[in-house]
């Protein structure tokens, strides 16, 4: 493009000749050039505007068209896509290890009223009281005839009651669906399951929330739709749990105890097969917690997990096993166990003022000698002793999957002087739950590998820390077997199951300080079968007393040990343990083929 000069020479010269101002020519040319530039800019702007408006028209047109389609079409659910299983219940079931139902949901209805829609409020109130005797007719009358527009009448009603309410024929009485939590086995495993209640409530549905036990600990998991309704499988065995609760209940009655608890744990995995605490409650109708007084008097109190008891002589095996592990003593080492023994200003005595003189380490356990155990603990020193108990888990709450677990933190002395070290060696001064004791015994019986208690079946766990050498652990179990064969636990012997265990009788501490003279917690901690330990049973009776041949007795050997024997007798066959007997198995005659006879004993 040829640019026009602002001052073309020819025109300038001509203008000069005619005497005109050449600047006017320049100005004219400049104006022409600016006009051309403006024209170009306007053209490109117009193009841009056109494209912009096109884009806007397209965008708004799309939105408008979609709105039109939405407004004009009939709404319908996307039925073709949802072919998978729909969510049936809002909370998963809980089953035992064989899949038997422990907790499930049941669809019931709730009853509410819209008093403004009622035709005959007084008659409705009267009829309702006839169906539900716990309602008050005056209260309903007031609610129905007043200004209220909405009244809850019942949270859960049965189908029969629902039909009866239907038959009243009152249009102001309405039903809403409700999913309720049902524990079909009643009292069995009540403390483990806990219970459930309604959370946020609405007419159309209500949320079911766990309030205690496993229901609370796994609340989120049970309500998670991502699990696709898969049940929560506990490690419990319903049959074993029922048998244990029955035997424990009878034992509690016979021994005149205030409470009882039993824990049966699989040693290899730490899975709890049965855990009971008596007295118990019905999780379908959970009682209210006590607001004052001792919480352990309430049936809600789980002695196995929440109870903090000084577990007495059952602790004696720990310092002895540790001393054997550290090669400080062997089972045959003779220890001076002359009673009484003086530590600082405290005297340590034997049970009933015995004096055993010199005992071997095995006999210290068999005869349950306090002084002997203290001597062994003195060989260890307080630091190593405390360290070992910590490794066994006596300083922390158990990691069991229940909402009550953190409340069962053991009461451990803050300082660890010589006297504390001595009393802890024979199980006084350190209060732990029976579950702690069961875990520690399982660790010893598991060849010294740490066991973690769990309530969940088949949960893969990494192998525990080795806290005791397998050799020392084996010797410790053999010592426990000697207790049952010839020591204080003779009444716990069960033919064929090689029970190995230790009795423990501990005076109950007074809330005001000191100890009661006539109230004890008697515990029997056992492992069976001793040759290949499979299960740990810890059984504890609260304030037992029995009248034996020698008058009233509260020792564990006379109270908890026989009950434990009865539990093992009932439960071991149910667990599929064959008795190891030297004699031949009983011969059962083969019946004739045409006359079948059931095998019975």
């Amino acid at each position: 493009m040829i640019r026009t000069p602002l001052r073309p020479l020819a025109r300038i010269l001509r203008a000069r000749e005619t005497g005109e101002n050449p600047d006017a020519i320049e100005a004219e040319n400049r104006a022409q050039r600016h006009a051309a530039i403006q024209e170009r800019a306007r053209g490109s702007a117009r193009t841009r505007l056109f494209f912009m408006s096109c884009a806007f028209a397209l965008a708004f047109g799309t939105v408008g068209a979609k709105m039109g389609v939405l407004a004009a079409s009939q709404p319908s659910e996307p039925r073709v896509q949802t072919t998978g299983a729909q969510i049936i219940s809002q909370r998963a079931d809980i089953t035992d290890r064989h899949g038997r139902v422990l907790a499930t949901n049941l669809l019931t209805h709730s009853l509410y009223a819209h008093p403004q829609q009622m035709v005959e409020p007084e008659r409705a109130a009267r009829e309702l009281v006839r169906i539900f005797p716990d309602l008050e007719v005056e209260r309903l009358d007031k609610d129905f005839t007043g200004k209220r527009t909405f009244v809850w009448i019942k949270k859960k009603i049965s189908p029969e009651q629902m039909q009866a309410v239907h038959d009243i024929g009152e249009p102001g009485l309405l039903f809403g669906p409700r999913e309720m939590r049902l524990y079909p086995n009643g009292h069995i495993a009540a403390h483990i399951l806990g219970g459930a209640t309604f959370g946020k409530e609405d007419v159309a549905s209500a949320e079911v929330v766990g309030v205690a036990g496993v229901e609370k600990a796994f609340d989120h998991w049970l309500r998670d739709p991502a699990n696709d309704g898969a049940p929560l499988m506990l490690s419990l065995d319903l049959t074993v749990q029922a048998a244990m609760e029955e035997v424990l209940g009878n034992g509690m009655k016979v021994m005149n105890a205030k409470g009882a608890t039993g824990i049966l744990m699989e040693i290899k995995t730490g899975e709890i097969v049965a855990m009971a605490s008596l007295p118990d409650f019905d999780p379908n109708d959970r009682p209210r917690p006590l607001l004052k007084g001792d919480p352990s008097d309430s049936p809600l109190f789980n002695r196995a997990v929440q109870g903090q008891y000084e577990l007495g002589s059952t602790f004696k095996i720990f310092p002895v096993a540790q001393a054997i592990d550290l090669k400080l003593v062997s089972p045959t080492t003779m220890i001076n166990a002359k009673a009484p023994m003086k530590i600082g200003k405290y005297l340590i005595n034997e049970f009933r003022g015995h004096n055993y003189g010199t005992l071997s380490v095995t006999d210290i356990i068999v005869k349950s000698s306090n002084v002997g155990t203290v001597r062994v603990a003195q060989l260890l020193g307080p630091d190593r002793q405390r360290d070992f108990l910590q490794k066994l888990g006596f300083f922390d709450p158990t990691p069991i999957e229940m909402s009550e677990a953190p409340t069962g933190k053991p009461l451990v002395p803050k300082r660890w002087p010589a006297v504390t070290s001595a009393t802890v060696a024979f199980g006084h001064g350190l209060a732990a739950s029976p579950l702690h004791l069961a875990t520690a015994y399982a660790t010893v019986a598991n060849g010294g590998k740490r066991v973690m208690p769990t309530l969940i079946h088949d949960r893969s766990q990494r192998g525990g820390e080795q806290v005791l050498s397998p050799e020392a652990a084996r010797i410790a179990v053999q010592m426990l077997r000697q207790v049952v064969v010839r020591g204080s636990g003779r009444s716990a012997n069960v033919e064929g199951y090689e029970v190995a265990g230790k009795t423990g009788t501990a005076d109950k501490p007074r809330p005001t300080g000191g100890y009661y003279g006539n109230k004890v917690v008697s515990t029997f901690a056992s492992v069976f079968p001793a040759s290949d330990p499979q299960y740990v049973l810890v059984l504890s009776l609260d304030e037992p007393s029995t009248i034996g041949a020698g008058g009233e007795s509260r020792t564990a050997g006379a109270t908890s040990a026989p009950v434990a024997a009865e539990v093992i007798r009932r439960v071991a066959p149910l667990l599929g343990l064959r008795p190891s007997t030297e004699t031949q198995l009983p011969m059962v005659e083969r019946p004739l083929p045409d006359r079948l006879k059931l095998v019975s004993n």
Binding site: R79, V80, T82, T83, Q86, I88, S89, R100, V101, T104, N105, L106, L107, L182, P184, N185, G186, H187, I188, L238, T239, A242, A243, E246, V494, E495, G496, Y497, R569, R570, A572, P573, L574, R578, P579, L585, P586, M587, V588, R590, P591, L592, P593, L596, K597, V599, S600, N601
Partner: protein, 127 residues
Amino acid sequence: MRSVLYLLTALSVMGLAFWAYRENYRTQAAISEMSDIQRQIGRLREDLGVLRAEWAYLNRPGRLRQLVDLNFERLKLVPFGSDQFVDVGQVAFPTPKAPEREPGADADMPVERPAGFPPRRPQESTP
């Protein structure tokens, strides 16, 4: 010629419209049938849940214990004890019924057990 072409086109359009109309209604019918079935499945699952709960309730250990006590005269059931473990050889297996031979089948032919049935144990054949 052209009019014939027009006529054919018009006829085919009408045919296609009829086909599309029918397909539309068949699809809708299938969809509603499916949602019906799904609702039915939901109801049945609900019933199944109720039945399972009832089964668990009827089989609760407390009730079974009561029933055993009530029927002790007839059943004589006692708790499972350690003395009830016996060798397999001493277990009284019920003798299986001899299957009826088909007429005309060879009498010496060994009787084949149905698929999935365990092989015959020696104890079963001896009285």
